[in-house]
Amino acid sequence: MNSSSGVQKRSVRTFAMAGMILIFIAYMFPFLMVVINSLKQKRDIIKSPFSWLFTVKGLSFDNFVKAFNQMDFLNAIKNSLIITVSATAIVTILAAMLAYFIVRNNNMLTRIIFALMVASMIIPFQAIMIPLVSIYGGTLNLLNHRLTLIFMHVGFSMSMTVFMFHGFIRGSVPIALEEAAYLDGCTHTQTFFKIVFPLLKPIMSTTLILNALAFWNDFLLPSLVLTDKKLLTLPLSTYSFYGTYSADYGTIMAGLLLCVVPLLILYIALQKQIINGVVAGAVK
């Protein structure tokens, strides 16, 4: 009895494993197609997109060279990096300070600010984008600057980031440490940066990852703010590149792969932190 149920359990497990591998291959199939076809020429892709065998023109890295140049890849990566890194850094510091202020000064004003921020998280970007363009494009004429985009990224991610810091500071930053610092003659600013800020590391890894991913991949907001070719971020330059070369499959596949590879490398290096960060961010 016991052993037969053990056998049954094991066969269920094998079955589940086999099913899982099949599902997994199906999930990875599109990426596999990109990798395979990025090395092939158009005629061979149309003839058969499935393998590296039987190509007429052979395999080469020509597509990559072409995509790299046509997308202005280095420039796009540079723009994306500048925007993602600065926006992430700024929102982290400002949100941590704001959340700290709200937690340590519990009064009518801070309660209203916090409630407003939490409520605003439900507003989708599409409900704001038209007036946003109207104000910053029309009245203030600030579009086509990286700084404007950074400022907007910071503003849009502020409420979520404050919300996460708020929960963490209230739950796990003991006020006794700060009181000791004040007794030693520290100012509020010194106390915050020397005592409190380092204690926020656990939650900071979550907010850093969530914000950086969102900024790096964002398309709609940057497309409204940046139109100057020199300033395009990676998603924007992918979009304009695709518009021009959509029939040139090999080059397109190479270009898409170029966009994916930096993220994959980072993902392999920081897999554990990214997954934990995303789960923690969703559950809070």
Binding site: R13, A16, M17, M20, I23, F24, F29, P30, F31, M33, N37, I45, S48, P49, V91, L94, M97, L98, Y100, F101, I102, N105, L116, S120, I122, I123, P124, Q126, A127, I128, M129, I130, P131, L132, S134, I135, F151, V154, G155, F156, M158, S159, V162, H188, T189, L213, N217, F219, L220, P235, Y239, Y249, C259, V260, L264, Y267, V278, V279, A282, V283
Partner: protein, 290 residues
């Protein structure tokens, strides 16, 4: 002295972050409500007050309503499929076989990549790879590109979204399953609960917190879909796959009817807010303490 110091602290700690938030979210939001009452065309400096005319124009905008109906169908299909699939995969993944972390990380990969790139990858898969399969096997389903007919293009949108979002929801469901109390599970088994009974009476109620989160995330993401819509189908063929968020964009920035576009955006926001609110209220009520 104390209030003066409080004021200084407020300026240093709270004001910079608060300013960004107000300037980018709250002011444009309020200004947007005002815009719905004007006839602004995006260029001129004159805005005439037109009362509720934009809402009347919205009521007559047949394409807006058809995009809204389409979005509803899409949201229902996506929410159901994503959550069922992710729940099942997460359940299998937590049955204790090797490589659980590897699979989990792999399934999540599409969520690292922006919707624009994903849409283009799939456009290639639908228009070249699947068609090649159709040619090689005479399989009717794949003979012509899914993206060339309204119904199959809609199915393509759903498929790509399910593929992307389920990886994210798998993470949350896996966290939920690993958090289940093993003692409760063992007690249930000893009491003779097994299979479907155990799933329905023990596991599902205990998983309600994860389900609340996943439903909320899939609902709000599916309603506001734009990137994948733009890069996968671009609304084609003949605008038949244009979802609500894309319609709002087109209305404002292509047709230059900013007032009407904003009115539609506000209505969309109210619909999403109500539906997510109701969903969270209902599923929260079903949560139980272990």
């Amino acid at each position: 002295m104390n209030t003066k110091r409080k004021g200084k602290d407020f300026c240093i700690f709270a004001l910079p972050g608060l300013f960004c938030f107000l300037a980018v979210v709250i002011v444009p939001f309020l200004y947007g409500v005002y815009l719905t009452l004007t006839d602004w065309n995006g260029v001129s400096s004159v805005k005439n007050f037109v009362g509720l005319k934009n809402f009347a124009a919205m009521a007559k905008d047949a394409q807006f309503w058809s995009s809204l109906v389409l979005t509803f169908k899409y949201v229902i299909a996506v929410v159901v499929l994503v959550n069922v699939l992710a729940f099942l995969i997460a359940y299998l993944l937590t049955r204790g076989f090797k490589g659980q972390n590897f699979f989990r990380a792999g399934f999540f990969t599409p969520n690292l990549i922006g919707g624009i790139v994903l849409g283009y990858i799939w456009q290639f898969v639908f228009s070249r790879v699947f068609v090649s399969i159709g040619e090689a096997t005479d399989w009717n389903l794949f003979e012509i590109s899914w993206l060339s007919k309204p119904n199959t293009a809609f199915a393509a949108m759903v498929l790509v979204t399910v593929w992307q979002l389920s990886g994210y929801m798998i993470l949350i469901y896996v966290a939920g399953f690993t958090g289940l109390d093993t003692e409760v599970m063992e007690a249930a088994s000893i009491d003779g609960a097994s299979g479907w009974k155990k799933m329905k009476n023990i596991i599902l109620p205990l998983m309600m917190p994860s389900i609340t989160i996943c439903l909320f995330l899939t609902l709000s993401r599916a309603f506001m879909v734009y990137d994948v819509n733009l890069s996968l189908t671009g609304g084609a063929p003949y605008g038949s796959t244009e979802m609500a968020a894309m319609h709002v964009y087109e209305k404002a920035f292509t047709s230059r009817q900013f007032g009407t576009g904003q009115a539609e955006a506000i209505v969309l926001f109210l619909i999403v807010a109500c539906i997510s609110g109701i969903q969270v209220y209902i599923t929260k009520k079903k949560e139980v303490a272990a």
